[in-house]
Amino acid sequence: MLIEDIILTLIHLSNNSLKGKTLLQKQVYFISVFLEKDFGYRPHYYGPYSPIVDTTLMKLKSLGFINENVSYWGYDYDGFDKKSYEFSLTDNGNKLFKLFKKSDRTTYNKIEKIYNNMMKTEGTKNYVTLSVAAKLFYILKSSGSKLSKNEMIAEAKSYGWNINEQSVVDGVNILNTLKLT
């Protein structure tokens, strides 16, 4: 229930246009961190990833609450289509969101506050930097201790994540601003 409500709320708060699956996954990740909820995040190609969030998104789409718009823009070096996803609430999705907001104002307010706090932080609107911040937070949380820049890069590598020094600096800045370090 909560994951559904979070996804609907995040799309609503993005002016009904949330661009990118990775951005959505990472925004829900940080929301879950602040709400102290375990949504089953684990390491994946683009950073911490939750199959439960993915399944819930799929369910909301299949029930007709979320519209997914895919844009294609050329090819990458492997010949794959480059594509981006944009999620918006359908009329029914909007109704469901409003029902949630009305029935559980406290949770809605918490999500809105966390979201606004994230948006005020430089770099969080970009899925790449937000993803790096999520990776670094995952690494720091898993290790349970403070790590140097090089240790973080090495640890990221062991998860299959390539992060350069500048990205570590940017990511740590985001975490500092969000008071997550």
Binding site: R42, P51, M58, K61, S62, L63, G79, D81, K95, S158
Partner: protein
């Protein structure tokens, strides 16, 4: 060491078995699998689908053995992985997976703990392995515990665990080919030799996974598509959904209305040895014989199983994906309807009333079945609960199947649907009659379901 102990298998050719494997296959508890069909009553759609858990389990053992040898596992590990594969389905009851739905419904949740509640079928399997007399004489306690740990996913040996359970496990590799062969379809066919040859391992943070090198992604695409096509054409075939639902309804009526003691005993899992001792006596054949016995012939369960025996099947009179109901709250409520059995009963009762009035025949609420299920997109089906299939890039780095497959990368992921269906014993005199009746039935069923859902929502 094959010692000439071979079995001829239509899928894998000769399968060699060791002395201990042979003794297990010869045990009564294993021989019972000869009478448990792999696909329940799918033979009512595909007449050839009469294969059983017996030969499937031997096939899984064979593939697990090939994988174990490929990865140079120790002789002890090879023995463990093959025995686990051989015994992994020993806990199946009559009609294979269909039984699990009934077990879930009648488990004695006051007695068994919450871990067991989530995996009743696996728990029964493990209990049989740990407690069966013959198996206890053939395998040491330690070995039986290692096998049950593997089945429950508790083993610390990752590679062995991945061979038994995961997106590329030996079970899937066998059942796709076997089910395809016996159903007489070609949807499940993939190049197993190529797949087995190319599978490799990947060590990720001290956990060893089964993986596939980037250059062999095409073989994997074929495997994933085979799984998808088998789902659409066999496992979710319209008639199969109806027969499975009729089996479940027949058993439930036998327990709740006909008050049949032996049925209650068979499905009320309480974790005791008495339950297991009784459970392992049952299979598809003696179940059918018993439920269709003279003493039972006035019961509702008899009617259901007699209809199944004679292939007098219910018709699917309503099938819609949930957005068809238009109203946001109704759609949301219906997506969770399986949590509310009383509401399902109410809907079935009202539909029965409508059908009786409209068709001028007597249709009882017990004869109407509501079924709800989700059909995942092909992209979703490439994963399992443990996550995506790992692909090794040219630089030997970790990637994922959906990233590396050109075909799957381009597939739109949103084509998953939740369906709500109604089955009932309706007769049509011809195509025209069918169309005419459907035009009347479908909107009325929609109205009944919507109204009941709305009334429940308003009372929340």
């Amino acid at each position: 060491m094959n010692n000439g102990r071979e079995i001829r298998d239509p899928i894998h050719g000769f399968i060699f078995r060791s002395e201990i494997e042979e003794k297990i296959i010869d045990s009564s508890v294993y021989q019972r699998l000869r009478n448990i069909k792999q696909l329940a009553l799918a033979n009512l759609v595909y007449p050839g689908a009469n294969h059983t858990r017996f030969e499937h389990s031997i096939g899984v053992m064979h593939i697990a053995g090939r994988l174990a040898e490929k990865f140079d596992l120790t002789p002890d590990e090879v023995r463990l992985v093959k025995l686990t594969a051989l015994l992994h389905d020993i806990g199946h009851g009559p009609f294979s997976h269909v039984s699990e739905r009934v077990l879930d419904k009648y488990v004695n949740s006051d007695i068994v703990n919450s871990d067991v509640l989530e995996k009743i079928h696996e728990s029964i399997t493990c209990q049989i392995i740990l407690e069966d007399n013959e198996l206890s004489h053939l395998l040491s306690k330690r070995e039986r515990e290692q096998i049950t740990d593997l089945i429950l996913g508790k083993s610390s040996n990752d590679l062995v665990r991945n061979i038994i359970s995961g997106p590329l496990d030996a079970d899937k590799q066998d059942y796709l080919l076997r089910d395809s062969y016996y159903c007489g379809v070609r949807y499940g066919v993939y190049d197993i030799d190529r797949l087995l040859n190319t599978l490799c391992t990947f060590n990720d943070r001290n956990i060893t996974y089964l993986a596939i090198p980037n250059e062999s992604v095409y073989t994997l695409e074929q495997f994933v598509i085979a799984k998808y096509h088998m789902n659409t054409q066999v496992y979710y075939h319209k008639i199969r959904l109806i027969t499975d639902s009729m089996i479940v309804r027949g058993i439930v009526l036998g327990i709740e209305v006909d008050d049949i003691d032996w049925l209650k005993k068979m499905y009320s899992y309480d974790g005791t040895s008495d339950f297991i001792q009784n459970y392992i006596n049952w299979n598809d054949s003696n179940f059918f014989t018993k439920i269709l016995s003279e003493e039972n012939n006035k019961s509702l369960s008899y009617k259901y199983f007699n209809a199944l025996k004679n292939r007098k099947l219910h018709k699917r009179i309503f099938t819609q994906s949930l957005p068809y109901f238009k109203d946001a709250e109704v759609i949301k409520y219906l997506s969770e309807i399986l949590k509310f059995p009383n509401v399902i009963n109410e809907i079935e009762k009202e539909i029965a009333k409508f059908l009786s009035d409209y068709l001028k025949v007597s249709i009882s609420k017990e004869q109407v079945i509501l079924n709800k299920y989700m059909f995942k997109s092909v992209k979703e089906q490439s994963k399992d609960d443990e996550g995506s299939i790992i692909v090794l890039t040219k630089d030997n780095e970790k990637s994922y199947f959906e990233q590396e497959s050109t075909l799957f990368h381009s597939i739109d992921s949103k084509q998953s649907d939740e369906f709500l269906e109604i089955y009932a014993p309706i007769e049509y005199s011809g195509k025209e009659d069918k169309e005419k009746k459907k035009q009347e039935i479908i909107p009325n069923i929609k109205k009944i379901i919507s109204e009941i859902a709305k009334s429940k929502i308003s009372k929340r």
